[in-house]
């Protein structure tokens, strides 16, 4: 049976290290598929103007294609070139919950993420996406620093 690993990218350089680590794991496992995930941070409970609402569908498409082009596709191409079985996904929502949900849907054996390079006040109070993932995920999480 193919072992699935979910790799969460945040568009930063550190993501490359997560991909490298996953590649190494994949080569050890053998029959393995990497699912590269990028989550566009979004909340259904935010407040928007009527004009933003009107444009929302168009913006969403743009956000998805931009994330695919800039982050997910290059990573998937790199993995495929290295002979690793991989595919990419872009979703909207809360980063930690979406990555957990994908891992569950796919029956993944592990989640691999990089340590978020962003800090700041909000993260200190509510925790970063990475720490939320580590605390709440139902599968093992590897944090690459």
């Amino acid at each position: 049976m193919t072992t699935k690993l979910v790799v969460g990218l945040d568009g930063h350089k550190s993501g490359d290290r997560a991909v490298d680590h996953a590649t190494m794991l994949a080569s050890l496992i053998g029959d393995c598929e990497l699912i590269i995930v990028y989550v566009v941070e979004w909340s259904p409970y935010s407040f928007q103007t009527a004009e933003e609402n009107e444009q929302r569908h168009k913006r969403r498409e743009q956000e998805i294609s931009m994330a695919m082009e800039r982050v997910v596709d290059p990573a998937v191409a790199k993995l495929k070139a290295a002979g690793v079985n991989a595919r990419g996904l872009v979703r909207h929502g809360d980063v930690a919950s979406i990555i957990m949900a994908i891992a569950e849907e796919e029956g993944a054996a592990q989640i691999i993420v990089s340590r978020s390079s962003e800090g700041g006040f909000v993260n200190r109070i509510f925790g970063s996406a990475t720490s939320n993932l580590v605390m709440h995920a139902s599968v093992p999480v590897t944090v690459v620093s």
């Binding site: 566009v40 259904p44 407040f47 928007q48 103007t49 009527a50 609402n53 969403r60 498409e61």
Partner: protein
């Protein structure tokens, strides 16, 4: 011009703009703007507020209430039967996770609410209670509850018949559902009604959605800083609105979006605190509301006076039947247009039944309205009820809150200005949609409307309240004349949607998603 309007205007004007102001400003720019404006808009205003022959009851109020009652009965009290389901939809229980990133039901509701929650809830209610007495509150709540069905009807149609463009943007609202719906049913005149609605919508956007807001924001600022010419406030407001709608300065709009809901919560929170402090008076206040609703408790026009005030202010505040909300709600991404109808029916509930009632209760409980203890009737000052400091309008609400929380009038002043601003931004969008329906979408056409909108902010702030509130009410109600007429023809389309959806919901085909 009927009695309640004249009395309301004089009452409102004396409170916000003292006589000395008029004297000082004689022959000033403000005065000239005011006179010209009143002369131009007069006939239109008189027609909209004409009383039903032989009564003092304006036909337009009857028109709105009858419509809300008809929709309530026709859809079998949809606002109560589907209330729980509406809450579920707003919470996102039925939102497909694959649609994440699209406009949610919550967002569409919040956007529409930021256009309706505003001065109507603060100033409008004070006018209603100040003239119609506590009894006006009862009729206001009733109108709010009935209005939920009007909102449901128009917003379902707004989503069902919106235009979706190849680039993914959408445009919706009464002008679209009137023209498309009528042609689908093979009815003539859809295009004419749609054009007529668009014209009134532009006037409504410039009136209630703009001039009234600018005017009251100026009254608030002048109340704190002392009197100064209105056009100065107008130019400042116009510059900020210009920066947002033409300059594309998103940061201002973004700040407002976040602050306005917070202000709304703060307002209701403060009202609740005042109610808790005076908990022993709540029973008495409701007693006054019920007694006043059926006897008037001495107010001008008695029970009918209370009823007119309540109905009229409810309609102006929640805009049910006006058609504006249908424009705001139409951007939601859903496979079932009727779900947006269910969500939208919460709007009059939050706006009128909750927020407006809070304002009214605070005014009543803090004893702002002078009551004769011997007769139990309210003491009249002209045609309005005498108040503790002679306040009406925003000033009355402010005094009521200030009676319990001394610093709250300052918060209220900021809230009024922010509400005015957010309502202006919302209405600039509604007006723009009507404008582009008439003149086509395009950068230049849009720019012309936006510039006109900014100019009217200056006029609104400079003119005195009388002609402004007249025109604002009239323009917004004129939208309701066309919209409701069309809804009577189109409501069977909504009924078909409702029956199909209820059937599938019962059969378990409409599924909740795990989140």
């Amino acid at each position: 011009m009927n009695f309640f309007k004249t009395s309301m205007l004089s009452a409102f004007a004396t409170a916000t703009l003292p006589a000395s102001v008029f004297a000082q400003e004689a022959m000033t720019l403000d005065q000239k703007v005011n006179e010209t404006f009143a002369a131009i808009t007069g006939p239109f205003v008189s027609f909209i507020f004409a009383p039903i022959p032989g009564t003092a009851f304006p036909w337009i109020v009857m028109w709105l209430v009858i419509a809300a009652t008809v929709f309530t009965l026709y859809f079998g009290f949809v606002q109560f039967r589907f209330f729980k389901h509406s809450i579920s939809l707003v919470k996102g229980d039925y939102a497909d996770p694959n649609d994440a990133g699209e406009v949610s039901h919550f967002q569409a509701l919040a956007t529409a609410l930021s256009g309706t929650v505003g001065l109507g809830n603060i100033a409008g209610v004070a006018v209603a209670v100040g003239i119609g007495g506590p009894g006006a509150t009862f009729w206001m709540i009733l109108a709010g509850l009935l209005g939920m069905a009007s909102k449901f009807t128009e917003c379902t149609l707004g989503v069902k018949y919106r235009n979706e463009y190849p680039d993914g943007t959408v445009s919706g609202g009464p002008m679209y559902y009137i023209s498309k719906g009528f042609s689908e049913l093979g009815l003539p005149g859809g295009k004419i009604l749609a054009v007529l609605f668009s014209i009134f919508c532009i006037l409504g956007a410039l009136g209630g959605g703009n001039m009234f807001q600018a005017n009251q924001a100026h009254a608030q600022i002048a109340g704190i800083t002392g009197d100064y010419p209105g056009w100065i406030t107008g130019i400042v407001f116009a510059a900020v609105v210009y920066a947002v709608i033409i300059g594309g300065v998103k940061s201002i709009a973004r700040v407002t979006e976040k602050v306005v809901p917070f202000m709304g919560i703060l307002y209701v929170g403060a009202a609740l605190i005042i109610l808790v402090i005076n908990y022993d008076m709540i029973g008495w206040a409701f007693g006054q509301i019920f007694a006043g609703a059926f006897t008037g408790l001495g107010v001008a026009g008695g029970m009918v006076g209370a009823l007119i005030q309540g109905f009229k202010r409810a309609a102006f505040s929640n805009e049910a039947g006006v058609g504006s909300a249908a424009i705001a709600h139409s951007a939601v991404r859903t496979k079932e247009p009727i779900t947006e109808g269910f969500v939208s029916l919460l709007e009059p509930l939050i706006d009128t039944v909750v927020i407006c009632t809070m304002t009214a209760l605070v005014i009543i409980i803090t004893g702002q309205l002078i009551n004769d203890p011997e007769t139990g009737l309210y003491v009249l000052d002209g045609s309005r009820i005498a108040t503790v400091d002679g306040n009406t309008g925003v000033a009355l609400t402010s005094a009521a809150f200030g009676a319990s929380i001394s610093w709250f009038p300052y918060v209220l002043a900021i809230a009024v200005i922010l509400f005015a601003f957010s309502t202006m931004i919302s209405w600039s969008y509604y007006g723009l949609k009507a404008w582009t329906y008439l003149f086509g979408e395009g950068k230049n056409s849009e720019l012309i409307f936006k510039l006109i909108f900014c100019v009217f902010i200056v006029i609104g702030a400079a003119a005195s309240l009388g002609p402004v509130i007249d025109f604002s009410d009239a323009a917004i109600f004129a939208m309701a004349v066309v919209n409701i007429l069309a809804l009577y023809f189109l409501m069977k389309l909504v009924k078909a949607e409702l029956e199909s959806y209820s059937e599938r919901l019962r059969a378990g085909q409409i599924k909740k998603f795990k989140h």
